[in-house]
């Protein structure tokens, strides 16, 4: 067993009906040796690498395309980052930007589950002068 700390950030897709509270209760009910902190976007999961991996696997089984996760460098509740202690949160705007995209990615993952074919995207062409002129005049 690896003793290395691993902190995971769990984010719920905006398309999901799951709430952070439900997610935290589900993880508590697993009775694993991890700490879970409820946040506005989902939760922070912390424990040893192996146990966190097991919990993540179970969470992904239960809420397949609704929960997204990445590692977090700082421990949960670290005074340098925690809002409760006026820590700076430099990664928060990036999380917010990605949260906006999660419903699209969830749709993409559902398409992947259905084994849909790749359809090449139509390339965005340049705006014609006439069209540009019309926009300016409107």
């Amino acid at each position: 067993m690896s003793d290395e700390r691993e902190t995971r950030l769990l984010m719920i897709s905006p398309k999901s009906m799951l709430t952070p509270d439900q997610l935290v209760r589900t993880i508590h009910a697993m009775n694993k040796d991890v700490r879970i902190k409820e946040t506005c976007y989902g939760g922070l999961l912390e424990g040893t690498k192996d146990v966190v991996g097991e919990v993540l696997e179970e969470v992904r089984k239960k809420y397949r395309n609704e929960i997204f996760s990445k590692r977090r460098a700082y421990p949960a509740g670290d005074p340098r980052r925690c809002r409760a202690q006026h820590g700076t949160r430099p990664g928060y705007s990036q999380l917010e930007a990605e949260w906006d995209l999660l419903s699209n990615v969830q749709y993409g993952l559902e398409c992947a589950d259905r084994n849909e074919e790749i359809v090449p995207l139509t390339k965005k062409g340049k705006l014609s002068i006439i069209e540009f002129k019309n926009i300016c005049e409107e």
């Binding site: 700390r5 902190t7 950030l9 984010m11 992904r60 997204f68 996760s69 990445k70 590692r71 977090r72 460098a73 700082y74 340098r80 990664g91 705007s93 990036q94 999380l95 930007a97 990605e98 995209l101 999660l102 699209n104 990615v105 749709y107 993409g108 993952l109 398409c111 992947a112 849909e116 074919e117 790749i118 359809v119 090449p120 995207l121």
Partner: protein, 145 residues
């Protein structure tokens, strides 16, 4: 396999790589190593002398220090990577490296290494997201174990 993600702190790319069975190489792992082992308060803003020397390996001394500092973190990960996923056409503020020169250097280092790489579109719409996920799945499943 170890897959480098660009932007290195992206939740979406990290999750997709892990979901399809590979190990993502991200900024978070590099920063955690510095917090846990070196006890640096605010990496990458606080650096050690070794970090400065590592940065010089990837960019010359005439290059701005910010770029060298960033490359000291991402450079070793690119060297370690077996493949890379790069998100193109993302808005300027997307990702942790708000410096176009650093981003170009990252792409240059990936190209120089000649590892398999996938350029995906920014999933701004459902159709783009579908294209992004399906291409990433095909690429990651094709990498083997």
């Amino acid at each position: 396999m170890k897959v480098f993600i660009d932007p290195p702190n992206s939740l979406i790319l990290f999750d997709i790589v892990e979901r399809f069975g590979h190990e993502p190489l991200s900024a978070m792992a590099a920063i955690q190593e510095r917090i846990d082992n070196l006890e640096i308060d605010m990496p990458p803003m606080n650096v050690t002398l070794d970090v400065v020397v590592t940065g010089l390996k990837y960019a010359g001394v005439e290059v701005p220090s910010g770029i060298r500092g960033r490359l000291a973190l991402w450079g070793p990960m690119i060297e370690e990577a077996d493949a890379a996923i790069i998100m193109r056409e993302a808005p300027y503020s997307f990702g942790c490296v708000g410096c176009e020169r650093s981003n170009e250097m990252i792409k240059y280092l990936i190209n120089k290494r000649g590892i398999p790489q996938l350029n995906v579109v920014y999933p701004g719409t459902e159709e783009e997201a579908k294209d992004f996920v399906l291409n990433a799945k095909k690429f990651l499943e094709g990498l083997g174990k």
